[in-house]
Symmetry: C2
Amino acid sequence: MSILVVGSVALDSVKTPLEETKNVLGGSASYFACAASSFGEVRLVAAVGEDFPQQYMDLFNEKGIDITGLQIEDGKTFRWSGVYKEDINQRETLSVDLGVLENFCPELTDKHKKSEYVFLANIDPELQLYVLNQIENPKLVVCDTMDIWIENKKSKLLEVFKRADIVMLNDSEAMQLAGEPDITKAADEILKLGVKYVVIKKGEYGVMLFTGYSRFSLPAYPVKNVIDPTGAGDSFGGGFLGCISKIDIENFRDNIILRALVYGTIMASFTVEDFSLNRLANLSEYEIKKRIKEFIKIPDVRKLTQSFSYV
Amino acid sequence: MSILVVGSVALDSVKTPLEETKNVLGGSASYFACAASSFGEVRLVAAVGEDFPQQYMDLFNEKGIDITGLQIEDGKTFRWSGVYKEDINQRETLSVDLGVLENFCPELTDKHKKSEYVFLANIDPELQLYVLNQIENPKLVVCDTMDIWIENKKSKLLEVFKRADIVMLNDSEAMQLAGEPDITKAADEILKLGVKYVVIKKGEYGVMLFTGYSRFSLPAYPVKNVIDPTGAGDSFGGGFLGCISKIDIENFRDNIILRALVYGTIMASFTVEDFSLNRLANLSEYEIKKRIKEFIKIPDVRKLTQSFSYV
């Protein structure tokens, strides 16, 4: 079924301890859309400038992503540059240039307004709300965010959370939200808004799912050689919601969500194996299935997934 | 399918802020057996003295409990007396007289050795081990205990835990085991022994289930008028294992265990409505079903039970 994603499409410059790239495809919506496109139809709502390379347009097209909502505007594409430290989990932003995102104000087409699954990828919460308000009758709304919005637009962000069924956060963002190093407290705070599920992403330590009456831990897929973690969380979101939209059931149950966590984990594990969307670009269904099979053989994963016989 | 329980059959004297009783039927195995008997065949292994009233033998018989393993020995029945404070969760033991339990050394019959489900109710862990060693091929072993064994026979107790599939503890006992006010730590310690599930009983605050990769919270049934909490934990165990033995599946999954938690909760809720086993004695299947239906309408319970569509 149809997924609509709003977020950023960017040109990233990333430096890791070993290598560096300049002005390559990035952005929350790019990673999400490419990861989710392995599962079904994805509608990308974003803005780029006239400098946006055709090859990336081609990539979206090759992936079957609906880019009728990708506006090419006067100005420059959003640019982000960052550096990863020796500990690959530590990232520092060097520069941000909003470019066309500054005045981005997407109007959805009638078709897009009827989208069933909505992913509000990391972007200004006002923009997330602006898009969400146009969706007529969404079946499921998933929301992601980033530290700068928690810091600068917390009340707006909580307004978005209130409208979401599932909220995703990094562990550091959860602690920032809680105001103390306690992700359970942050999860509780979000659940109290009426959110059904809170997913806490812990990078190489996996993910946690909070439901209010239960919580689950899933380890990460053990990637041998992490090249660049940029976009891992967005790709996780793509695998996660892609999986749910493919099953497309009326009542979301915990076992469906657990299954989606597995797919999200696997999509993220591919993304970090190369810079930009290079690994996702040529990813085959066979590779995904193979890695899923491998992953659910890990004892802790097997226990969790077998316990509700979802596989 | 067949459940074997070893534990105490006692004559209790209980004082609550409002009332008091003397030398009435009590003991971990009595409560367990009566609660579990609503679900299937229960084999009671315990010892009483010659002073044990016939009316309680009659009650076991009426409940269809197999008492061929209930030894009547020279001496006195185990006696316990305690007092509940204004806060009904606070209990103080006034006296304990082991009586025939002092030299109790049960030899199981060939039939009992073939029991499929085993409940090691609260009793000396050496006795629990002694019985467990005689069971030929148990399908599932559940173990309960009490503060005095954690304090005085911890290493023996951990030996029992190591052989159990499911361990039950009160929250205060869990904290005692962890050596600090952290039930998660205690649950982790027990799970590391190879136990599949740890159930933490929190009295009027419900129960928690720990699996290592997930945890669940279930509230208690809101009993309007608690008369005497004695035996609530044992009755919980009876409803819990009774439910599992009735389903009798080969592979235990979390949703079966969650269902069992619901039944355990309901059986405990009846027990506390009167002294001794008075409420369990005349309990009908209709009353149990009615209360289950009521219970799973409570939003927090409904969410948990619906999430895996077990009902």
